[in-house]
Protein backbone atom coordinates (compact mmCIF):
# COMPACT_ATOMS: atom_id res chain seq x y z
CA UNK A 1 0.00 0.00 0.00
CA UNK A 2 1.94 2.97 -1.31
CA UNK A 3 0.38 5.96 0.41
CA UNK A 4 2.61 8.47 -1.32
CA UNK A 5 1.35 7.24 -4.70
CA UNK A 6 -2.23 7.98 -3.80
CA UNK A 7 -1.39 11.36 -2.30
CA UNK A 8 0.70 12.22 -5.35
CA UNK A 9 -2.16 11.41 -7.68
CA UNK A 10 -4.51 13.59 -5.65
CA UNK A 11 -2.12 16.54 -5.85
CA UNK A 12 -1.47 16.18 -9.57
CA UNK A 13 -5.19 15.91 -10.27
CA UNK A 14 -5.91 18.97 -8.15
CA UNK A 15 -3.32 21.01 -10.04
CA UNK A 16 -4.57 19.80 -13.42
CA UNK A 17 -8.10 20.59 -12.30
CA UNK A 18 -7.19 24.17 -11.45
CA UNK A 19 -5.41 24.62 -14.75
CA UNK A 20 -8.35 23.32 -16.75
CA UNK A 21 -11.01 25.08 -14.67
CA UNK A 22 -10.19 28.45 -16.24
CA UNK A 23 -10.87 27.27 -19.80
CA UNK A 24 -13.18 24.28 -19.61
CA UNK A 25 -14.64 23.62 -16.10
CA UNK A 26 -16.29 20.35 -17.16
CA UNK A 27 -12.92 18.71 -17.85
CA UNK A 28 -11.77 19.59 -14.33
CA UNK A 29 -14.71 17.62 -12.98
CA UNK A 30 -14.03 14.71 -15.35
CA UNK A 31 -10.46 14.54 -14.09
CA UNK A 32 -11.73 14.53 -10.51
CA UNK A 33 -14.09 11.64 -11.24
CA UNK A 34 -11.49 9.60 -13.12
CA UNK A 35 -8.82 10.02 -10.47
CA UNK A 36 -11.39 9.15 -7.77
CA UNK A 37 -12.18 5.92 -9.58
CA UNK A 38 -8.52 5.03 -10.12
CA UNK A 39 -7.65 5.64 -6.48
CA UNK A 40 -10.64 3.58 -5.37
CA UNK A 41 -9.58 0.63 -7.53
CA UNK A 42 -6.03 0.88 -6.23
CA UNK A 43 -7.19 0.87 -2.61
CA UNK A 44 -9.76 -1.88 -3.20
CA UNK A 45 -7.09 -4.21 -4.51
CA UNK A 46 -5.00 -3.61 -1.40
CA UNK A 47 -7.78 -3.91 1.14
CA UNK A 48 -9.91 -6.74 -0.19
CA UNK A 49 -7.71 -9.70 0.76
CA UNK A 50 -7.48 -8.95 4.50
CA UNK A 51 -11.24 -8.33 4.57
CA UNK A 52 -11.91 -11.78 3.09
CA UNK A 53 -9.52 -13.33 5.61
CA UNK A 54 -11.49 -11.70 8.43
CA UNK A 55 -14.70 -13.08 6.94
CA UNK A 56 -13.22 -16.59 6.84
CA UNK A 57 -12.09 -16.30 10.46
CA UNK A 58 -15.58 -15.21 11.51
CA UNK A 59 -17.16 -18.02 9.50
CA UNK A 60 -14.82 -20.56 11.12
CA UNK A 61 -15.90 -19.48 14.61
CA UNK A 62 -19.41 -20.71 13.79
CA UNK A 63 -20.83 -17.28 14.45
CA UNK A 64 -23.80 -16.54 12.20
CA UNK A 65 -22.17 -14.69 9.27
CA UNK A 66 -25.42 -13.05 8.11
CA UNK A 67 -24.79 -10.11 10.43
CA UNK A 68 -21.30 -9.66 9.02
CA UNK A 69 -22.70 -9.91 5.47
CA UNK A 70 -25.24 -7.16 6.16
CA UNK A 71 -22.51 -4.97 7.61
CA UNK A 72 -20.33 -5.71 4.59
CA UNK A 73 -23.11 -4.77 2.17
CA UNK A 74 -23.78 -1.60 4.14
CA UNK A 75 -20.13 -0.73 3.72
CA UNK A 76 -20.46 -1.18 -0.05
CA UNK A 77 -23.53 1.05 -0.17
CA UNK A 78 -21.77 3.71 1.90
CA UNK A 79 -18.78 3.69 -0.43
CA UNK A 80 -20.82 4.16 -3.60
CA UNK A 81 -23.18 6.70 -2.05
CA UNK A 82 -20.31 8.70 -0.62
CA UNK A 83 -18.54 8.69 -3.97
CA UNK A 84 -21.59 9.94 -5.87
CA UNK A 85 -22.63 12.53 -3.30
CA UNK A 86 -19.12 13.99 -3.16
CA UNK A 87 -19.04 14.23 -6.95
CA UNK A 88 -22.42 15.99 -6.89
CA UNK A 89 -21.06 18.43 -4.30
CA UNK A 90 -18.07 19.07 -6.57
CA UNK A 91 -20.47 20.03 -9.32
CA UNK A 92 -22.16 22.41 -6.89
CA UNK A 93 -25.36 20.35 -6.72
CA UNK A 94 -25.75 20.15 -2.95
CA UNK A 95 -29.45 19.26 -3.16
CA UNK A 96 -28.62 16.36 -5.47
CA UNK A 97 -25.90 15.17 -3.10
CA UNK A 98 -28.46 15.18 -0.30
CA UNK A 99 -30.81 13.09 -2.42
CA UNK A 100 -28.04 10.57 -3.14
CA UNK A 101 -27.25 10.23 0.56
CA UNK A 102 -30.94 9.87 1.39
CA UNK A 103 -31.20 7.09 -1.20
CA UNK A 104 -28.21 5.37 0.41
CA UNK A 105 -29.84 5.60 3.84
CA UNK A 106 -33.07 4.09 2.46
CA UNK A 107 -31.12 1.24 0.89
CA UNK A 108 -29.30 0.55 4.17
CA UNK A 109 -32.55 0.67 6.10
CA UNK A 110 -34.16 -1.84 3.74
CA UNK A 111 -31.06 -4.00 4.00
CA UNK A 112 -31.15 -4.08 7.79
CA UNK A 113 -34.90 -4.72 8.08
CA UNK A 114 -34.56 -8.50 8.70
CA UNK A 115 -32.04 -7.80 11.46
CA UNK A 116 -34.46 -5.41 13.09
CA UNK A 117 -37.23 -8.02 12.94
CA UNK A 118 -34.99 -10.63 14.53
CA UNK A 119 -34.02 -8.22 17.26
CA UNK A 120 -37.62 -7.31 18.06
CA UNK A 121 -38.72 -10.95 18.14
CA UNK A 122 -35.86 -11.77 20.48
CA UNK A 123 -36.86 -8.85 22.71
CA UNK A 124 -40.50 -9.89 22.80
CA UNK A 125 -39.55 -13.48 23.57
CA UNK A 126 -37.71 -12.24 26.68
CA UNK A 127 -40.66 -10.11 27.79
CA UNK A 128 -43.50 -12.44 26.82
Amino acid sequence: MNLTTVLGICLVTAVLGVVLKQYKPEYAFFIAIVSGIIIFFYLLVQVINPVFEIRNIIAKQGVDTSYFLVAFKTLGICIITGFVSDICKDFGQNALAGKAEFAGRCAIFLLSLPLLKGLLEAAYSFIG
Partner: protein
Protein backbone atom coordinates in the same frame (compact mmCIF):
# COMPACT_ATOMS: atom_id res chain seq x y z
CA UNK B 1 -2.54 1.67 -11.42
CA UNK B 2 -3.09 3.27 -14.85
CA UNK B 3 -2.65 6.95 -14.19
CA UNK B 4 -2.42 7.78 -17.88
CA UNK B 5 -6.20 8.09 -18.17
CA UNK B 6 -6.08 11.24 -16.04
CA UNK B 7 -3.51 12.76 -18.36
CA UNK B 8 -5.48 11.60 -21.39
CA UNK B 9 -8.55 13.48 -20.21
CA UNK B 10 -6.46 16.53 -19.35
CA UNK B 11 -4.84 16.42 -22.79
CA UNK B 12 -8.22 16.24 -24.51
CA UNK B 13 -9.38 19.20 -22.46
CA UNK B 14 -6.38 21.30 -23.40
CA UNK B 15 -6.54 20.33 -27.08
CA UNK B 16 -10.23 21.16 -27.26
CA UNK B 17 -9.56 24.51 -25.60
CA UNK B 18 -6.80 25.36 -28.09
CA UNK B 19 -8.87 24.22 -31.07
CA UNK B 20 -11.80 26.21 -29.79
CA UNK B 21 -9.75 29.38 -29.52
CA UNK B 22 -8.22 28.74 -32.95
CA UNK B 23 -11.59 28.29 -34.63
CA UNK B 24 -13.21 31.22 -32.82
CA UNK B 25 -10.36 33.57 -33.78
CA UNK B 26 -10.63 32.48 -37.42
CA UNK B 27 -14.30 33.35 -37.42
CA UNK B 28 -15.80 29.80 -37.39
CA UNK B 29 -17.86 29.81 -34.19
CA UNK B 30 -20.02 26.87 -35.28
CA UNK B 31 -17.06 24.56 -35.86
CA UNK B 32 -15.62 25.68 -32.52
CA UNK B 33 -18.83 24.72 -30.72
CA UNK B 34 -18.95 21.40 -32.56
CA UNK B 35 -15.35 20.64 -31.66
CA UNK B 36 -16.04 21.39 -28.01
CA UNK B 37 -19.10 19.16 -28.15
CA UNK B 38 -17.13 16.33 -29.76
CA UNK B 39 -14.43 16.53 -27.09
CA UNK B 40 -17.07 16.51 -24.40
CA UNK B 41 -18.75 13.41 -25.84
CA UNK B 42 -15.48 11.52 -26.09
CA UNK B 43 -14.48 12.25 -22.52
CA UNK B 44 -17.99 11.61 -21.24
CA UNK B 45 -17.99 8.14 -22.84
CA UNK B 46 -14.66 7.32 -21.22
CA UNK B 47 -15.86 8.50 -17.81
CA UNK B 48 -19.19 6.70 -18.08
CA UNK B 49 -17.41 3.46 -18.94
CA UNK B 50 -15.16 3.84 -15.89
CA UNK B 51 -18.12 4.61 -13.62
CA UNK B 52 -19.86 1.52 -14.96
CA UNK B 53 -16.79 -0.56 -14.14
CA UNK B 54 -16.65 0.99 -10.65
CA UNK B 55 -20.26 0.20 -9.84
CA UNK B 56 -19.93 -3.31 -11.26
CA UNK B 57 -16.83 -4.00 -9.18
CA UNK B 58 -18.34 -2.68 -5.97
CA UNK B 59 -21.51 -4.69 -6.58
CA UNK B 60 -19.58 -7.89 -7.16
CA UNK B 61 -17.16 -7.40 -4.28
CA UNK B 62 -19.74 -6.42 -1.67
CA UNK B 63 -22.38 -8.74 -3.02
CA UNK B 64 -24.99 -6.04 -3.44
Amino acid sequence: MDVDIIFKVAAIGIIVTVLNQLLVRSGREEQAMLTTLAGLVVVLLMVVNMIGDLFGTVKSVFGL
